[in-house]
């Protein structure tokens, strides 16, 4: 365990706790306007969505654009459990995430044989199928939607976001994450290095679906109402834009992209007719001057805090 409590991790933990406490203080003392709080919770939801899609698209290199489908599954399952079945919130969120993950396995096994554009089309189709199923299911309100009480607080949203990001980051920075990255880099070479590519593609896809389902659960239990229209392909594209903007393959890039896009959309809320135009122009400029995204494939890390780097460790051998 000695390694878990290095200076980096402690500083990161302190930073997370501090950020949480400051915002929580502002909310409790009623200084923060409700619109800001809503935006902050939205950012948390989008960070989970963006980092989990990054796991599939950026890390493993499988171009999926059906993320709204997994989010919808998580949203509806958790709503059913917390509202119709009167279950506890934790159970609802967990069940939503697990069902989304199962859907991820079911969709992933056959579709991950496809490459590039074909996989994108298949996953896009999957997202639409999910939406249309919910649209036609009277049990969950059909097109009118499903109303439920808002139980998610800043504490829940931020805590779950931090936990999700840490878990995904831990996965990426392990031999299993490297196996996924090797698939992105060169699938044939990965296979010849003994990496079971099918297993790791499905694993990344399932994990991405799990966290998308969790984000869906948070969304449903915060916004009072969920409607099938929310989970259309535009939402999937929106998440995709976040990770491309932040930098495909960079976990911190996904976070940056989610924050920038959500803030931009909140700041431009006053000029709804110009919102999409401005974001589109910004994206075009971005693609011309920095096509790899804000972070590229680099990560923001606290390595400079003096934890022995791999180089130092090696020179000791």
């Amino acid at each position: 365990m000695r390694n878990l409590f290095n200076r980096q991790n402690i500083v990161a933990l302190l930073g997370i706790v501090l950020l949480y406490a400051v915002v929580q203080g502002l909310i409790v003392s009623d200084i923060m306007p409700p619109f800001y709080k809503l935006t902050l919770i939205q950012i948390c939801i989008y960070i989970i969505l963006a980092t989990s899609l990054n796991l599939i698209n950026g890390i493993t290199g499988q171009f999926s654009i059906g993320h709204a489908g997994f989010m919808a599954i998580g949203a509806y399952i958790s709503a059913i459990i917390t509202t119709i079945l009167n279950g506890p919130l934790v159970l609802g969120l967990l069940a939503g995430a697990i069902v989304a993950a199962l859907a991820g396995i079911l969709v992933g096994l056959p579709t991950l044989r496809l490459k590039g554009d074909y996989l994108a089309i298949a996953t896009l189709g999957f997202g639409e199928i999910v939406r249309i199923i919910f649209l036609n299911t009277e049990y969950v309100g059909g097109a009118a939607g499903f109303t439920l009480p808002s139980k998610i607080t800043w504490t829940w949203a931020f805590g779950l976001m931090a936990l999700s990001v840490v878990l995904m980051k831990n996965f990426v920075n392990s031999t299993h994450g490297r196996a996924c990255i090797s698939i992105r880099e060169n699938e044939i070479a990965a296979e010849s290095m003994g990496v079971n590519t099918t297993k790791y593609k499905v694993m990344a896809f399932t994990m991405g679906a799990f966290f998308a389902g969790l984000a869906g659960g948070i969304y449903a239990n915060y916004f009072y109402i969920i409607q099938p229209m929310t989970f259309n392909f535009l939402l999937s594209f929106n998440i995709l834009v976040m990770i491309v903007l932040g930098g495909l393959g960079s976990m911190t890039g996904g976070i940056v992209g989610a924050i920038v896009m959500t803030l931009a959309s909140a700041l431009l809320a006053g000029v709804p007719e110009w919102r999409n135009v401005i974001t589109a122009v910004l994206l075009v400029i971005m693609m011309i001057f920095r096509p790899t995204g804000i972070m590229g494939t680099k990560e923001f890390s606290l390595n400079f805090l003096g934890k022995k780097s791999e180089k130092n460790a090696a020179s000791k051998n």
Partner: protein
């Protein structure tokens, strides 16, 4: 019992017989060359052995077990590793990560320990880093451990690819044109390296090569492939003087 036995192996792509009735036997510890003119089917043989292609007919036994029908990663797990004719590194990753991926299949810690950072994660990662650095040291790449693989000079990329293949801890190493694009000095160094790793890792090596000085210099036995069939086999001296080989390489009139 030979380490690798290929029995009547054939592979057709539609009407084209890329490999037909191939028979090769390799004993433990041998260094074998597989040569032949362009398009003779050498790389196809490697792809069949490593599970990239499925054979049409025949048998391949490695360490007394059938290997045909296995997926490439399963073949690697059985102890057969390869390099590629056109280098296939993980080019955007660091040199050390390239080698670490090779150790992936031997990792002891599970996905769950990775997610929750159990102690086995730290010990597993440390072990992997140590082994990978040792391997880089052997290949004189330890100073470049943090370098991005694609930024290495060509010769070093070739060396890294061999290092990475050794990371899977193979019994049999398949080298597909390791000297391609190297100058005579680099080829000479490579020759010494191949001899040395064979001793050091107790390897059996099968190599495809166009560079005759390399093949004749290091291989103990050579198989010559032309139009998908073995036309000759023997020691380098026998091969040099074999009229069939000269004919395959230079054409009939010369003989």
């Amino acid at each position: 019992m030979p380490l690798l036995k290929i029995d009547n192996l054939s592979k057709s792509f539609g009407g084209l017989k890329a490999v037909s009735n191939l028979n090769i036997e390799i004993n433990q510890g041998e260094l074998i060359g597989l040569i032949g003119p362009n398009g003779a089917g050498k790389t196809t043989v490697f792809n069949l052995l490593t599970g990239v292609y499925d054979k049409t007919e025949g048998k391949m036994t490695f360490q007394d077990r059938e290997v045909s029908g296995l997926k490439p990663y399963q073949v690697t797990q059985r102890g057969m590793a390869r390099t590629f004719q056109n280098i296939r590194l993980f080019s955007d990753l660091s040199v050390i990560d390239n080698v670490k991926i090779a150790y992936h299949q031997r990792t002891s810690y599970s996905t769950v320990s990775a997610l929750f950072r159990f102690p086995s994660y730290y010990s597993g990662e440390e072990e992997m880093l140590r082994k990978a650095m040792e391997l880089l040291k052997i290949f004189n790449l330890e100073d470049k451990a943090q370098e991005t693989a694609k930024n290495l000079p060509y010769g070093e990329q070739r060396r890294l690819e061999i290092a990475r293949a050794l990371g899977t801890e193979p019994k049999l190493l398949l080298l597909d044109e390791p000297a391609a694009g190297m100058n005579p000095q680099e080829t000479q160094d490579l020759m010494n390296l191949i001899r040395w790793i064979r001793e050091q890792f107790k390897l059996t090596i099968l190599l495809i090569e166009h560079d005759m000085s390399l093949v004749m210099g290091v291989c103990e036995r050579i198989y010559v492939l032309d139009y998908g069939t073995i036309i000759a086999q023997g020691t380098p001296d026998e091969i040099k003087n074999n009229p069939k080989v000269i004919e395959a390489y230079l054409g009939e009139e010369v003989v």
